[in-house]
Amino acid sequence: MSRPETAAPRGLYTTAARQSLAKLSPRLLLRNPVIFVTAVVAALTTLLACRDLAAGTGGGVTIQITLWLWITVLFANFAEALAEGRGKARADSLRATGQETRVKRLPSAEAPHASAEAVSSAELRKGQIVLVEAGDLIPIDGEAVAGVASVNESAITGESAPVIREAGGDRSSVTGGTTVVSDWLVIRVTADPGQSFIDRMIALVEGAERQKTPNEIALSILLTGLTLIFLFVVVTLEPFARYSGTSIPVVFLAALFVTLIPTTIGGLLSAIGIAGMDRLVKANVIAKSGRAVEAAGDVDVLLLDKTGTITFGNRMADAFVPAQGVGEARLAEAAWLASQSDDTPEGKSVVALAARLLGDALPRAEISAHVAFSAQTRLSGVDLEQGTMIRKGATDAILRHTGAEPDPVLAGRIEAIARSGGTPLLVSQDDRILGAIHLKDIIKPGVRERFAELRAMGVRTVMITGDNPLTAAAIAAEAGVDDFMAEATPEAKLQRIRDEQAQGRLVAMCGDGSNDAPALAQADVGVAMNSGTPAAKEAGNLIDLDSDPTKLIEIVMTGKQLLISRGALTTFSIANDAAKYFAILPALFLGAYPGLAALNLMGLSSPESAILSAVIFNALVIVALIPLALRGVRYAPVSASALLRRNLLLYGLGGLVVPFLGIKAIDMIVVALALV
């Protein structure tokens, strides 16, 4: 499902640019240690530049370096603001739906509708009862306790077709901000104002209450540690230089320090996190915590319900098996006729299969009467003008109807169909059995490939089904899942999750029913369908607004991509330092040991231009990588070794080489523009 872009890019950029200035406030900067340190150093060099200006001792390079240090900070802020901005537009449209309204509060669920009192939605509290009727906005999250209604949930899901919500069962959950289209519902409120689903969603997409995820915290610690190590390196360099008979201007030390500390990943870290969540929001998945998204990347086992995920919900006609002496075309014609009045998906699939087989040669018989399916006869069909009776139905029903026996070959094939997990339907004309229709669970196209990808990523798939083991095994083999659970009960599902976890595996599953809630809570990643019960939605740590179980695979990919982006940019950032050393160190030490000019591998034109070029490169690389940070590093489902090799080459080796070229190019421009 797609959603129109809510904000024009131009507006996004100007807002982000404004925001990056606002983010210079020390309180906000403190959240990002590396960038905070950069800002402190920039402030220090600003003082030095002012001193130089006051003393009238030129300081052109000092001013330029200072300027670029500030630009480095601003670029980092810009990246974060841009990532946040994309979520903000969505949040604004959500907020519009969460406005205060008048609602009809009932004293109890059984009270007559006329007893409703009008109150403000802000006064509603958990456990209170509200009546909503056609045209009303559902004020807050709740559970239908009486009535049935069609509800437009497009404000949340973007899907404009209304859905049915009714008391009892698995479709009782309603969400604040959605609208009742027809009929009425009595709702018990399940969230206080400000804590509803929409409120959580707003906070999430805005990134306002964004909590750092576990891996992000670990990475921040590593980056802070590196910053500290480089502080030791740079601070001790001045005494070593003085010992060596040269003196390094403080502004050059400041420049070296900022280029060494991991500003690239430091500046992009929060943008990566926000953009990752935003990608999920775009896919219509709401994560209750960033932790859940990261855990999704770690998942080892996916438990997938067969119906709706692996197969289409219904059995479909797959083949016609004619009896002896009957042509396939004749069987197809009869089946086509017998299904003319059958509106079930099965019936439609028979019509479709016959039409495909017959092409233009569809039968032109005149139908005199339609025989609908009934629980007693368990067959359906048509009577033709001439009185011919064409029927289709379950094997025993047709046998009873015709009183005939299938020929031995057909009988054998009927048995084979049942053994393979399919369902045989018989077709008869009057008292003659024409043949069988092979109905089977049709595997969704592309599912097999998806599972192969998951296997390559190291994720095992387990199919959960209520079918008997024979049927389950056949479908499992066809779909290419690694394992299956037949005749699964909610208890068995829960036990399976515990067993997998006991073996050190992380388990993901999706579910919607109340009986799924324990398993959803037990699973490391539980994706609740938005159409599901409040209990299921409470138990899961992600909610899929589209209620599409295959989304689990997307979620796993997004989780992995998030981690890969961070790792790749950190590696890139650290690898960059080698080139910066070769740019700056010869420049600093040339006075002490002219022999060290041999380290000037890039042949930079002067010490000043070398240092300035390194600082400029360091700032520009943040901007250059913003698109990558927002989009996420490309992720292909391959084995970990292949992935590591690729990313090490791209971001490790690339990170070593790119700055050599970049700094050299900038040096040439700096010289051409006579900036030093």
Binding site: P214, N215, I217, A218, L219, I221, L222, T224, G225, L228, I229, F232, V233, V235, T236, L237, P239, F240, A241, Y243, S244, L260, G297, D298, D300, M457, G458, V459, Q503, G504, R505, G559, K560, Q561, L562, L563, I564, R566, G567, T570, T571, A575, Y581, F589, A592, Y593, P594, G595, L596, A598, L599, S639, A640, S641, L643, L644, R645, N647, L648, Y651
Partner: protein, 567 residues
Amino acid sequence: MSRELLSILLYLAVLVALAVPLGRYMARLYRGERTLLTPVLSPVEGALYRLGGIDPAEGQSWRAYALSVLAFNAAGFALLYALLRLQGVLPLNPAGVAAMAPDLAFNTAASFVTNTNWQAYSGEVQLSYLSQMMGLTVQNFASAATGMAVAVAVIRGLACRGEGRLGNFWADMTRSVLYVLLPLSLVVALILVGQGVVQTLSGAVTVTGLEGADQVIARGPAASQIAIKQLGTNGGGFFGVNAAHPFENPTVASNMLQSLCILLIPVAFCFAFGRMVGDRRQGLALFAAMGLLFVAGLAVVLWSEAAGNPLIAQITNTTGANLEGKEMRFGAALSALWGAATTAASNGSVNAMHDSFMPLSGLVFLVNMMIGEVIFGGVGAGLYGMLLYVVLAVFLAGLMVGRTPEYLGKKIEAREVSLAVLAFLSMPLGILVFSALTVIVPQALAAVQEAGPHGLSEVLYAYASATGNNGSAFGGFGASDPFHTTLQGIAMLLGRYAIILPMLAIAGSLSAKAPAAPTAGTFPTHGPLFVVLLIVTVVILGGLTFFPALALGPIAEQLSLVAGARP
């Protein structure tokens, strides 16, 4: 050269051939299984446990383990300090050596308790036999066993299945001494005596030399101390000039044996690691990474020593290896091998003057120590030091494959990363900050012999040696100055315990985690890719931290040497 190269290849082959079975033996020992020596030694072991009231089967949490390490080492420190201060009035002092000064005693005690064996004194004139045998030799065993025990505890933290126990320090320590260090030392000491290393309790002898003057020749119980000094990567020589002294290291055979002993237990630990974590390929990967780094460094030293000094070649119009400061009985190649091994292995014994090696060789020695003595490293210490790099390498690589990073199935999370970072800070602090203090304080700088880049190398080497718990001396550095004895003592304690404690904490944290099952999504930590990744992590992290300082030291020296040699 080809004969020398052959002897080095032979050395490497014998080293591995001995280390593999020793690793297997150690793995069995630390798992509490029956070993070759169990029938002989278990009565002694049992008696020691009864004496100390220790239940070897009682596992300790990381805190208890760390407290035991600290208590044992603190007691050893106090005892050694007291011994050195009181040696003048204690027995076994035929030469009548006086008490050691407080700052030097602190330095020496810190040095031997931390397995550094930095010697700011000259053994034959400033130590009594009692101090040598009851003080230093005892600590040679105790400090080595401490390192081995900590490594074993860390391995258990990685290997266990969530029990949160690291084993029993007292048992690990006892077993390390009884089953590994003592039997090996006994064998090595006997062979060394056979080669002519002295072993006597009589005092120095006075002889009349050829020129007619009286000469005092120091001797003493050397062989027994030398065996453990090499096996336990201690390195503190009996005599001041260490293994260059003919009484310590008389022949090429004794030289080869001692070179083997330097790396034997550290290499064996790689193989023991693989067995103890239940996947020998994991140990092999660590061995491969360390081995490649070692061979690369060794190759540079061999080449630069064989090439010799270009300036001398220009003046004398001759070519030849750099033999300044080397014993002629060992030559350039075997001196290079020893230098590379002793700095890689945190041993610190020397058979040549490191100050006189080519600047490029000095650079290799410095880098070996600055990266934290993880190329095989000290007994036990090298392994857990390398595991620190593994934590960081795995963390970055793990992120890059899209999973929460894990090593041997244990998730590496914020706690492990912060502890690893904490441990990493000790090296730049001890080396860079303390060296910077030295060049700032005039009194401290006065202890440095040379000016210019070579002088900076001398300072960096001294503090890298202390912080890395290596103990070898570059030379040209007046280590006995009170400023340096004190600061060096602090550097040694920092380099030892600021790594042991975080590492034990990491092991404790990992020990409480149930291992995750490996899938195709977990990247393997035993393949060539991981070996390369680990090497790059070591080189990049070490390189980024120390490159600027090295540029002003050995790199500047080498570059000016090369530039000056050009016509």
